[in-house]
């Protein structure tokens, strides 16, 4: 249940940011897409729109909001569940509401506003999706957005961070059917986050080589994961010599995307954008280097013994 940022810009009169800090992390989100824009349907711009901020602390983004709701850390799931009950006029105990750090009046007001808007949108950040409850929090918020459609138009959209991380999801879904946490070790893609997701794989020490592109796990991952990257042969592609390059066996410097490398990048609402590089880099692009590595691998014998084909799903017991 999502939409493009263009629709938000044109129509959304009720915007909720949940667990994110767009004022500092996505500085142009407010002005370009959400609260500041005037449109055919919202001619008075900011005055026609209501912004609610739900977060555990009062960040810079909270100052831009009409309503700031300070939820207790780790109580997002409880708050969403209460909202799901309240929109359906179900009974919720005072104790449950007190647990979230908010008042019944504030929640009743929020529910009333959510139901009376014409087009509502939840934008949720890592404060929701990467804290206690993780993907269950995201799932709960998406369910709340879906259920709100019994009353009015409501959508939800994640606030994606790094440049083209949305593109990574889209490309993997297109090529394998799954968005991340994939293994090809049976010859066909299988998906299981927790088993095949990188932090878990590295902390358990499952993999025996790593190819890192467009990321710096040496600076961002937990120490046990970094220690495993140091133990195994790591190959790193980056425009800079990063923390990961320093622990890697092989580092190749590549052109920076959008600066000196052409291509496509996806916006957070899954709209692909062509890149317009301004400079010519002395380094090859990621695309070229990966293609050359793939060609070099193709010269070597296939990883399964001669004559054996990848096991197909249809032949599995």
């Amino acid at each position: 249940m999502t939409c493009t940022l263009g629709e938000v810009k044109q129509r959304a009169d009720f915007i909720v940011y949940w667990g994110g800090n767009p004022a500092e992390c996505h500085p142009r989100h407010f002005t370009k897409y959400t609260i500041m824009q005037k449109s055919k349907f919202l001619p008075r711009g900011r005055k026609d729109r209501t912004m609610v901020m739900v977060d555990i602390r009062e960040t810079k983004s909270a100052k831009a909001a009409n309503i700031f709701l300070q939820v207790k850390p780790g109580k997002d799931f409880e708050l969403i569940t209460i909202l799901r009950a309240l929109i359906k006029d179900q009974q919720v105990g005072d104790e449950q509401i007190a647990e979230t750090g908010l008042t019944r009046e504030a929640l009743d007001d929020l529910v009333q506003r959510m139901k009376s808007c014409k087009f509502g949108c939840f934008f949720f950040g890592m404060g929701l999706s990467m804290t206690r409850g993780k993907h269950m929090n995201s799932a709960a918020l998406l369910t709340l957005a879906a259920e709100m459609n019994a009353f009015t138009k409501f959508v939800a959209m994640p606030m994606r961070g790094h440049g083209n991380v949305t593109g990574a999801d889209v490309i993997m879904r297109w090529q394998t059917g799954y968005p991340f946490g994939i293994t090809f070790n049976r010859g066909y893609p299988r998906y299981n986050p927790g088993e095949f997701s990188t932090v878990d794989v590295l902390v358990r020490g499952d993999c025996d080589a790593a190819f890192i592109i467009g990321a710096d796990p040496g600076a961002t991952m937990p120490q046990p994961a970094i220690n495993h990257l140091k133990r195994i042969p790591t190959i790193c592609l980056d425009p800079h010599v990063t923390h990961t390059s320093k622990l890697a066996r092989v580092h190749i410097t590549t052109a920076a995307q959008g600066i000196s490398a052409p291509g496509t990048a996806y916006r957070m609402d899954e709209i692909p954008m062509p890149l317009k590089p301004a400079l010519k880099s002395p380094y090859p692009t990621d695309e070229e280097v990966v293609r050359r590595i793939n060609e070099a691998i193709a010269q070597k014998p296939f990883w399964l013994p001669e004559g054996s084909q990848p096991q197909m799903i249809s032949t599995q017991v």
Binding site: H29, G161, V199, F211, G214, R249, R267, P282, R292
Partner: protein, 115 residues
């Protein structure tokens, strides 16, 4: 010296991927990024066309790209369970080739999304 201007350039620093940036450059560095936010401006102005780093490093020693490509292919091919990870700060075209690499290696494939 007059600077060259690129209209409607795309910024890939954050997930907003703003596509209305005006870049003023002299082929070596970008001097101005109009309409970009603080993060985008820093991203555009800090990357140059100068050669600041070695082409490639193998075990910390400088090497050519071809040597590094061959070493990388050998290390990945020798591994029983190689991991292909990251894919955020790169183009969709490169991401597609990374999926092909993981498939070819029978390895793991993952992005920042799982972090």
């Amino acid at each position: 010296m007059t600077l060259q201007i690129i209209d409607n350039a795309t910024c890939t620093f954050c997930g907003c991927v703003c596509d209305d940036i005006q870049l003023h450059h002299d082929e070596v560095r970008i001097h101005e990024a109009k309409k970009a936010c603080v993060l985008g401006t820093a991203y555009f102005l800090n990357h140059t066309a100068e050669k600041k780093y070695p082409d490639a490093l193998i075990d910390g020693k400088e090497a050519t790209v071809e040597e590094a490509v061959q070493t990388a292919a050998t290390l990945l091919h020798e591994a029983d369970m190689p991991l292909v990870y990251g894919l955020s700060n790169t183009t969709c075209e490169a991401q597609k080739l990374c999926v092909a690499m993981a498939d070819q290696l029978g390895g793991l494939l993952d992005s920042h999304t799982s972090l």
